[in-house]
Amino acid sequence: MAEAVHQAFDPLSTGSRAKQIRSKTIVYGLLTFFALLYMSPLFIIFINAYRPLEEIVREGFISAPNTMSWSYWGEAWSTFCIGGNCEGVSRYFVNTLLMTVPATVLSTAFGLVNGYALSKWRFKYDAWVFGLITLGVFLPAQMTLLPWAFVLGKLGVSNTIGGLVLVHTIQGISFTTLFCRNYFVAVPDDLIKAARIDGAGFWRIFWRIMLPLSPPILIVCVIWQFTGIWNEFLYGTVFTSGSNQPITSAIVAFSGSGTGERHYNVEAASVIFAALPPLLVYVFGGKYFVRGLTSGAVK
């Protein structure tokens, strides 16, 4: 069907020669304009991570570089002082990594099993259970800040990465369960029925049938969770402080700290360190992400 649309619908190579050229100019012109607009922040920040500070202060961010140096990357990574801590962003980068990876793995694993149980092993009130879990998707973080602060304190994990892993895992399960349940609903029930007649139990069906079918939704969950948790700011700021903060909080502290001159070039390099991991995940997995998202994860 999609093919039919595209055969009937190809204005760039139908009509007269002049008309073709005109529509091509409009389409590619607009696309280029928007592409430049979308890419410009990325260009600007990369260039300024190489420029000396005096030059940035003198000419602003949007200017061709005269002299360039690699040294700001090293400074940003390992020696620059943020809030009295002179280890650069490396420490905060590692904090975020130690928070994001376990929370992503845990919430995705729970989501897969939950989604499978809710879609293929119907029981009384299963819709209520699903509804309760997915309400977590909508609940604004502000409603949970004070209770979480209390609970984390009671558990003895205030101001630790472990505490943030807990918060992100529990919040993330709502998303992953929603994604996986909606995806697994489309798996034919006959497949499960046949396996059960053959004597396969809950876990055997999960490992042998559902898991091999799940890569598309697995990728959606991993990308969603990884980018979401890596980029999260509010929980990190509220529940941790000082050298235990994630990198997003460190970037904001960077802007606020520093008496006297702002080290824009080091800041630009730090910002790239903060942006790079989710960006790489996206560039390499984005295609599957969109495919999974549009194939029914979002409903």
Partner: protein
Amino acid sequence: MTKRSLGSRLAEKTPQLVLIPTLVAAFMYVVVFSLWTLWISVSQSTLLPNMAYGGFGEYAALWQSKRWVVSYQNLFVFGALYVVGSLFIGSLLAILIDQRVRFESVWRTIFLYPLAISFIVTGTVWRWIFHPQTGVERALNDLGWISANFDWITDRDMALYVVIFTGIWHASGFAMALILAGLRSVDGDLVKAAQIDGASMPRIYRKVILPTIWPIFIAVTVVLLQFAIKTYDLVVALTQGGPGVATTVPAIVVYDLMFQRGQIAQGAAAAVMILVALAMVIVPYVLWTNWQAKKEGQRHG
């Protein structure tokens, strides 16, 4: 013998058993935490929690504070323009890409990448670009256009539009991806019929294709409105709510009340108001989708 039957009974219950940890966590998180915050909002808490009942005074105080009223108004302006702008740009980009352009995946990646970047990074970079001393105005001045003036970010009346622009930059790729998927699912015969009737391309999109994928527009609208209501980090990194209170949003007020000013009851009241705003979007949507599903079910018997 009894042991085996216990085992098999447990095996039968496996689906429910595996859900128990999640169910307990979700119940804690969704129900207990919400009621807890709701109770704090009507308690006598100030800097520290004091769970004695204190009435609805904090709600009244909240709505009398100018800062909160401005932040709630900002939410409406920001939410409306952010959603409309993202849908418009998203549709435009989706339609352009739908013209069988070359390097489709390259264009798509370029328009979608902002979504992968945190609001903190987004806000930091755009702050540099919008700030008159470091950004566009400076560059134009240095190019010789001395009178060039572009200081929206420090202008009380215009700063909110900087936030809106940046928000659209971040979200329009998401709208594009979903709308593009929608365009590709439209029945080809419909388009052919319109073409035979002699309709022009822009007209076919406006009158035939886009109207048939309206459910996608509604879904994207709901998701984006949610983002808008929860907006916090973008504003923190971009304008910190300023100049003055010009770009303050409710989430910033909540943070300040709870963790800067030690008025946790009023902070909780503000958090509840965010939940109310969210419910005004989500509840009608859920009711509507259920109604649609029911209608669909009846039609197919």
